[in-house]
Symmetry: C2
Subunit: 363 residues, 2 copies
Amino acid sequence: MAAKRKSKACPALYADRIKRVRAEMEAKKLDGYLVQDRKDQYWLTGFTGEDGYVLVTKKEVALLTDGRFDEAANIQAPWAVKVLREQRTPERTAKELKARRLKRVGFDPDHFTVADFTGTRKAARPVQLIAASGLVLGMRQCKDKGEVDAIVKAIRVSEKAFKKTAKWIKVGMTESDIAAKLAYEMQRLGAKDVSFPTIVAVGPNGALPHYETGDRKVTKNSPILIDWGAEVDWYVSDLTRMIWPGSIPRELAKVNKIVTEAHDAAIAAIKPGVTAHEIDAIARKIITKAGYGSCFNHATGHGMGLDVHEAPRVGKGTNVKLEPGMVITIEPGIYLPGKGGVRLEDDILVTETGSQVLSELPL
Amino acid sequence: MAAKRKSKACPALYADRIKRVRAEMEAKKLDGYLVQDRKDQYWLTGFTGEDGYVLVTKKEVALLTDGRFDEAANIQAPWAVKVLREQRTPERTAKELKARRLKRVGFDPDHFTVADFTGTRKAARPVQLIAASGLVLGMRQCKDKGEVDAIVKAIRVSEKAFKKTAKWIKVGMTESDIAAKLAYEMQRLGAKDVSFPTIVAVGPNGALPHYETGDRKVTKNSPILIDWGAEVDWYVSDLTRMIWPGSIPRELAKVNKIVTEAHDAAIAAIKPGVTAHEIDAIARKIITKAGYGSCFNHATGHGMGLDVHEAPRVGKGTNVKLEPGMVITIEPGIYLPGKGGVRLEDDILVTETGSQVLSELPL
């Protein structure tokens, strides 16, 4: 009855990452670290089950999951210690911590609910739970070659699908029709899913930066704002383009020019050592100077990788310095209530000497 | 520049729900309740912005969100007090609690991270934060007529799309092709999105209850397990069907009969007053008696509404009694590693006198 198993040895990729986590644990005097975020878990072990914790100790890596993901655990991380439990209760988690006689177990307060934490802490005594925010997420900021390749793959899929969809769009189609077609083409090209709900905003709907795609129909002269992404091999893309089916309304043409300028200037400034805040300020200054500062009400960009939104946020107050391997979006926009909006978004890799725009779709 | 706004009066639907929350607040001696879960927020106010809290006090309902969702708040909940803030920091949330001179503010420990909670509690002093688990979610368990209608709409969309897709499937297509087609058809029929990543599992892949759709190809004789759902007007469907393209392997045919029996018996037992645990036991007993107890490693079903997985869980240990208005899935399965699996899933409304199977697709 047994299916074929992969080798029991931990692949070098994961062994290296686990080593880095253990070094952080050592620095924080932790003898255990409980990973709750699913993407963090994937990054550390390759395990993709929906339910589970990864528990890293000095000696072992344990997957706490349930029967639904038994086979997945066997196939994806046969080298890890598998702990199947019927229900995901804090008491059950605590039992594993106590059985290992751990003293100080770290956890990520951004991915642990108050309910889970309170219950686990109580049941795990005398094991102490220590908040260690973003321990794995921090490591995920700089991507290795394999990760960049995966991101590029996701970008290429989304670009090809966009081109196909753009040609297919006709007057009378709804925003939802376009989103459906785009998702379909991405999936046929190898995407597992969209990386977030596609935004297709026709005409005045473009004025809502996070518009929910609806039933507005394409007309001859209404601009179409499309913000979309693909998830391929767990890594994502995130792009925004404008489609101008006919003549461009005058103010939007003006605004399009300003946004293009802000987009280009922000990208040109990307290099190691510059802070995320400075990149944001460059785009913001151009838009503010042109008189549209109050119409640009979100950050210029964000980190991207396994999650669509990762650290660093490219916005006011982010003092993180850019480092080689970071992948960030640059996506300035101007929104004119009742009239529409323009946003242009690309995905950029920070390199040793500057940057490389990973997306290739013309603006 | 201002877009047209809806009336400032709170619609009766939301007024009633907010009244129920205030009654619970009164019972728990709370003068505020902070709603973090997005679906809870939508249920209470109609607001769909990705970022925000809803703060219910004795006198007002405030939406704490950011500039990206300004227009959405204006359109969806113009009757609520809108608080736009640049960043979603605990300090900023605390400021709003203090400004209202609140004393005891409830929150849902299942939807508040340790980081947010710790930060908010510290900055909000002397305001006390009191855990009140599932206060809104509990109210969401029993659906009103409008909600049941929305769920039925989502079910119909997913059923129609399934029929179209089933006809379209050909030998040589991949699991991903099928998932893409199904999503596309659902979206063309009015779905905003799939309600969860579609599972298309060909042949032995069916042995993983939560298989991630991949590249396995349809062959003449491999069964196809499809677990899918649509999201329409924020409410969801969740169904599973088997497609048998050719002759049915002997053991799977046997197993299919057992699962059908378990499925039918569990549904037949649904009525007010029966516990969720009892429903699970009925399905489990049939499968266990047939010798496949260890191959049915998940709960028989779950509540469904705005979320695909809501209370009550229809599994061991859930002593919740079924009540009219609850919508639950019934989805027993048998999984044979290396060979494949069978799962059959329908969506059922608990009525005053018994139950109504909302899904209409033949098994």
